[in-house]
Amino acid sequence: GTLYLTATHLIFVESSSNNSTSILHHHIASVEKLSLTTTGCPLVIQCRNFRVVHFVIQRERDCHDVYSSLLRLRQPVSYEELYAFSYNPKQNDQQREEGWQLIDLGAEFERMGVPCDQWQLTDVNRDYKVCETYPRDLYVPITASKPIIVGSSKFRSKGRFPVLTYFYQEKKAAVCRCSQPLSGFSARCLEDESMLQAISKANHNSRFVYVMDTRPKLNALANRAAGKGYENEDNYSNIRFQFVGIENIHVMRTSLQKLLEVTGTRSLSMSDYLVGLESSGWLRHIKAIVDAAIFLTKAVTGEGASVLVHCSDGWDRTAQVCSLGSLLMDPYYRTIKGFMVLIEKDWISFGHKFADRCDQLDGDPKEVSPIFTQFLECVWQLTEQFPQSFEFSEWFLLQIHEHVHSCQYGNFLGNNQRQREELQLRDRTHSLWAFLMSEKQNYLNPFYSPAFSELHPVLEPSTLPYHFKFWRNMYHQFDRSMHPRQSILKTILTLRENSRNGESMLQALENVSALTELQQLGVTPVATSEPPAPPPTRDQRSNDGQEEVGEEAIEGTDTERTVEGSSATESRKQRYGELEGTYNSELAKEEPAVVSLEFGVARMTC
């Protein structure tokens, strides 16, 4: 086939079938030129969405040209080069603006019941003066005065002082987050101690606050030598200190590398696979995160205690644990909209360094780490245990993962809110959330039951090791041959769609038959004045009937019905068509879990 390089994509068109594969430059994680063979020069491209492609280019010079172009293209040096700034989904400014307004964190805190008599909004960070990696709007205990906040922030790494991230209204218990204290071996800070005291006092249900240090104790100890460290229980009254032992970004990066090395091996044996899975430690890390989230959830929902979570800088492990904990506690975060809000709050606004972690610009490779991918995987592991608790399906998680790396939308660009404002992302790029919301239909989990969530608002997953599985649909999303050839999810979604069509068809037919009966009786004036002449063939007739009734239904009883009714069907169909178009051409991505039956191409390893 032919390889094309465009400003944003690499496109490969098969000469025999005209099938094309396109890869966004931002998705390319690494390009490797292998040594020359008789057929040509092999080029291996690994993508951040775990696609691996091999090209063989006949002439070595061409190969080298492609190679060096890709090296340059895959890593822009300035934000302006990112796809998001050139991507135009044919929306006007108003639509773009509305897209950005979809998620409103102020409203989210209101939903939690904040501000309230114990928690208030502070304007201390209005100009990013106190902490430049935090958002402007922060929520703190009523009793935490400005001097306390400022003092506390000076005693915390990167100025990230304790602030509210989730409020468990039922027990008035708070989940707060911050970074490590600059305690060294013996330093204290009275303001910081007062800050924790204020958090404690804001909750009448419990006499103490849990402080969760999400790092392994050894790491925390090592940090003391650098003038950082962890809270000394003697200096803080009423705290219960706890290490939970999640490893740092470097360990996680290496772990994923090992995992991918193992799963990328050709004709892998079962034994090597399992040994590799174990030695990569990946699932152990995933389990550690879920364990920590469960600890948090139990403290808050069970004991009604407030919890302060931190790690080193409070933007990686802390984000994982706070967001996953909230997801376990609050069914809202398990809906499509709620999940967007959760990511917006705990990840985007609180300054998870997406630009560094996802390697958006040519940066320090040591800063890259799959922290957010781990969070998505933890959620997936939970969906496996609680198939009815989530409004969204696996596809939603995969699509978010896709776009965290695609740099096609503005949401994940940059490292913190301040930087995003400087880049004027709201004016110059589009919001992913609006796009995902517009095709919400595709991400619905057909098994979702709001009633189940009402019955089990707090999830209590088991973390016995065998509940954690290798997420094949993520790490092998492009290896068609490995997935089930028939997907239950897809089948059920199709059935759901059929049912909806069936419902409207049924209604249409009922109306038509009622009409026909009336005509037979000769009582309807409609029949005489404007007889709905039935077209000659049966198929046409039913279509006609459908249209007619669709319009009637709008005038009829409830308007909601018509949204699902026949008249809307066509447009949804079209949207589906479009979606498939985007999946295939624009985003270069097949529906992950769905692999159509292809008996013709059996790939066997025997």
């Binding site: 152990r284 069936g502 038509v512 009966e517």
Partner: protein, 549 residues
């Protein structure tokens, strides 16, 4: 012998039953000749009825005068009974031990069981070889049904009737039988309608160290080849194992004597290794420690998934030879009663859509396992918790079911039955009120008069209410060959069996119900739409006014 002699204490009150993920039950424990029963004597609480033959092993523990018996079952369930009184506890324990290890087949429960349901179709007659042959006859006339083994003298582990090439007479068969392990001469296992290729199975040839040959054997299998075509012999053992077998009189087909056949060796493990693997796997699954590394390393060390992969791979190979290469295949290992059957039966699941229906699958189990002489009684005498040294026990059939489950997972819409049928077969192979899995061969079953004296499992299964429970709601007939992926990432641990008692399946079950609901609702709707359409069409034809306009 009277069972009463073995029951020292028939009844104890105040016994507490602990089961994982279920509330404890207090009640009266009763021992009968075949069951351990615990009843709380309250109306709506569940009682425990446990077949003694389902008990794999027991452990006793004492705290003061309170004794506990931990009962480990062949279906992998573990329950605990707290029994007040040291003596009662010891008595109960020794009774259970004695009753669960009865040696005589004729004392087994199936001989005492009387069905509480109406037998609509006698399962003993549901899948007769002569009926299967009628189907074959409708496709080809190259095969005949031989009665050479009608008194089970030529091959004790074969059924009375076997399908063989038409041109091979019974005398030849007798000669070939002396050249094959346990007299298992090559017989037809599967006829691939699409291209007329066949799969045969046999025992290993008895070439021995001096390379004995048997012209009749060569003639028999060559009779299945089309002119100028080559066939494949799939030996389920590695070349080394096959070489070693020569010293014990066994061996394999040499290139020189079988020039029209290409031999391929695979590495499916032998019975005792599989049993060890099962024990290790179940131990790993029951380990409640929370370490991920420990779990993965134990899972790996059990080698269970490796066996699953190897068996599936070999089955794919056999299916590929037939469907893709258009060649006939002969499969054998040593005896031809274990790995051979795994391969031939799985290959049929892959190739033949009929085997993916409920009835077709039963027929497959009947043909390729029961009548083919898989020694169920020996293999399923003990399960994963057995303390005694394994003799002939091996989870050969369970591995087959596991492989079917893997394919089912990959093609969830192509099977008429659901996972439940596979779990049911696993349970009944190890302990059952039905006679189907008793005995080791057709000959033994005839000798025990099982069809006259016991009820067939198929009689129970093939009733509407049971069938409904076992049906896969997603099924849509799929006439194609289904090629499963055998990549390690595609093969999963069969949770429905191995983690069945170690996890709460409530959430998963509810989601399944929801799925069934969605499917049924959809069907209902489509039916309504169709019937309305018909009505409408009728109305119009009846209505002259509408017709003219």
């Amino acid at each position: 012998m009277e069972f009463a002699e073995l029951i020292k204490t028939p009844r104890v009150d105040g016994v507490v039953l602990h089961r994982p993920f279920m509330p404890t039950v207090e009640g009266t424990l009763c021992l009968t000749g075949h069951h351990l029963i615990l009843s709380s004597r309250q109306d709506n609480t569940e009682e425990l009825w446990l077949l003694h033959s389902n008990i794999d092993s027991i452990e006793k523990r004492f705290v003061g005068s309170l004794g506990s018996i931990i009962v480990k079952c062949k279906d992998l369930r573990v329950i605990q009974l707290d029994i007040p009184g040291m003596e009662e506890c010891l008595n109960i324990a020794s009774s259970i031990e004695a009753l669960s290890t009865l040696d005589s087949v004729s004392l087994m429960y199936p001989f005492f069981y009387r069905p509480m349901f109406e037998v609509i179709e006698d399962g003993w007659n549901s899948f007769l070889p002569e009926d299967a042959f009628k189907d074959l006859e409708s496709m080809t006339d190259e095969w005949r049904l031989s009665e050479v083994n009608k008194d089970f003298s030529v091959c004790p582990s074969y059924p009375a009737l076997v399908a063989v090439p038409k041109d091979v007479n019974d005398d030849t068969l007798r000669k070939v039988a002396t050249f094959r392990h346990s007299g298992r001469f090559p017989i037809l296992s599967y006829y691939h309608k699409k291209n007329g290729m066949v799969m045969m199975r046999a025992g290993q040839p008895l070439t021995g160290t001096n390379g004995r040959r048997c012209k009749e054997d060569e003639k028999l299998i060559n009779a299945t080849l089309r002119p100028g075509k080559r066939g494949y012999i799939i030996d389920t053992r590695t070349i080394n194992v096959a070489q070693q077998a020569k010293a014990r009189g066994g061996g394999f087909e040499s290139e020189a004597n079988y020039p029209q056949w290409r031999r391929i060796h695979k590495a499916i493990e032998r019975a005792n290794i599989l049993q060890e693997s099962l024990i290790k796997l179940v131990e790993a699954c029951n380990d409640q420690s929370h370490s991920m590394d420990r779990w993965l390393s134990k899972l790996e060390a059990s080698n269970w998934q490796t066996h699953v992969k190897e068996i599936l791979t070999t089955a794919c190979l056999a299916a590929q030879c037939i469907d893709r290469e258009g060649a006939s295949v002969l499969v054998h290992g040593t005896d031809g009663t274990d790995s051979t059957l795994q391969v031939t039966s799985l290959a049929q699941i892959i190739l033949d859509p009929a085997c993916r229906t409920i009835r077709g699958f039963q027929s497959l189990v009947e043909r390729e396992w029961l009548q083919a002489g898989h020694p169920f009684q020996q293999r399923c005498a003990q399960s994963a918790y057995s303390n005694s040294k394994p003799r002939q026990e091996a989870p050969v059939f369970l591995l087959f079911l596991d492989c079917v489950w893997q394919i089912l997972r990959q093609f969830p819409c192509s099977f008429e039955f659901s996972e439940s049928l596979l779990v049911l077969l696993f349970e009944h192979a190890y302990a059952s009120q039905f006679g189907t899995f008793l005995g080791n061969s057709a000959a033994e079953r005839t000798k025990l008069s099982l069809p006259e004296k016991t009820v067939s499992l198929w009689s129970w299964v093939n009733r509407p209410q049971e069938l409904e429970r076992l049906t896969n709601p997603l099924y849509e007939a799929n006439s194609l060959v289904i090629w499963p992926s055998v990549a390690p990432q595609s093969l999963l641990l069969w949770e429905g069996v191995f983690l069945r008692w170690n996890r709460s399946s409530k959430c998963l079950d509810e989601a399944y119900e929801e799925m069934v609901h969605i499917i049924e609702y959809n069907k209902e709707l489509q039916n309504k739409v169709n019937s309305l359409r018909r009505q409408l069409a009728q109305l119009e034809t009846e209505d002259p006014l509408l017709k003219t306009s």
